[in-house]
């Protein structure tokens, strides 16, 4: 009873804290000064159509690097906790529907994932979304083929190499251009074309491979521990 009272008091405090957001709400009519700068100068400075991508990969690129490091640590923690698979349980065969569907859909899903992260600077999407789409395609493959094993060595190599190249590109920016992860180490190209925006397609491809490999690693670990 006392516990419930404490929970209610905490909730009431939270509501009081959040209430000003609701009562004093004045919708923005103008962009904030930071956003104004990104929107005004972004297309010319970075060369990407999608400004969210420009913010993630270039302006706030260091945060993205840190975020991927957090993702890596979480994956490593899951792998460490689940440990080696016991291998006792036999998995039942998937139904024919899943098998046929996988054979038909898997190449399309993987192609769609690659499309999403290659066009990250032009259309909505990018490395994170593309990586997730690839991971879900591989999950479908694992569900359909009960006794197939995804080589964790291969996953580790993809993850390590893409992470290392990401940092190397960042350092190249420090030497050749204005700063860490500056995308103008490659020519900006024509605005709105697939090969443009300097190093952004390259960086986002690496992010996509790394995120995809990490998420497949999480799913693979959880599936193998079953």
């Amino acid at each position: 009873m006392v516990k419930k009272l404490f929970s209610l008091i905490i909730l009431a405090l939270l509501v009081i804290m959040l209430l000003p957001l609701m009562t004093d709400f004045a919708p923005f009519a103008e962009l904030s000064r930071v956003a104004e700068k990104y929107v005004q100068k972004g297309p010319a400075e970075v060369g990407g159509q999608n400004l969210v991508t420009s913010v993630i990969v270039t302006y706030r690129g260091l945060d993205t690097l840190g975020e991927i490091a957090v993702l890596f640590i979480a994956t490593a923690g899951i792998g460490f906790l689940l440990g080696k698979s016991s291998g006792k349980h036999k998995r039942s065969e998937a139904s024919q529907l899943v098998n046929t569907g996988t054979a038909f859909l898997l190449p399309i899903i993987l192609l769609f994932g690659v499309f999403i992260f290659l066009h990250g600077h032009l259309t909505p999407g990018g490395g994170f979304q593309g990586g997730v789409v690839i991971a879900s395609g591989i999950l479908l493959f694992v569900l359909a083929n009960a006794d197939s094993q995804i080589s964790s060595n291969l996953l580790h190599w993809i993850e390590d190499l893409s992470g290392a190249f990401y940092v190397i590109i960042g350092l190249l920016g420090l030497i050749l251009a204005g700063g860490f992860l500056d995308n103008s180490i490659l020519p900006l190209g024509q605005f709105g074309k697939l090969i443009s925006a300097g190093a952004i397609p390259l960086i986002y491809t690496l992010i996509g491979l790394k995120v995809g490999a990490e998420l497949v690693g999480i799913l693979n670990n959880m599936q193998r521990s079953q």
Partner: protein, 114 residues
């Protein structure tokens, strides 16, 4: 948009209430993920500007006066990916605790209680 701010706050409060009132560890993690969704909704609603479109500068969008703030979108995008990794880590801990103790009730874990 005011409506989505209210919705976000309701989801945050419901999620926290679930975390505080439920005894099952899986239920606590579900409460956390509801709270997560509420916070994302709140951050995005604050960055929204009425009658403006997504920050993609193609032929249809010519001036800066037509797009919304790209910064909240970028923040929330990374937060969602991190949220998945953290949820998976929490669930792994829950499975390990069940392996050791044979129970998911939070009140059965008394080792660190004082």
């Amino acid at each position: 948009m005011l409506l989505t701010i209210i919705l976000g706050i309701i989801l945050i409060v419901l999620g926290l209430w679930g975390m505080l009132s439920q005894k099952n560890i899986i239920k606590i993690i579900i409460g956390f993920s509801i709270m997560d969704t509420g916070i994302h909704l709140l951050i995005l609603s604050i960055g929204y500007i009425k009658d403006r479109t997504a920050p993609i500068m193609n032929q249809a969008v010519q001036s800066a006066g037509q797009v919304i703030d790209p910064v909240p979108s970028a923040l929330v995008l990374t937060a969602i990916v991190i949220g998945l990794a953290i949820t998976a880590l929490m669930l792994t801990y829950a499975v390990k605790l069940y392996e050791i103790k044979g129970s998911l009730e939070i009140s059965d874990f008394k080792e660190l209680k004082w």
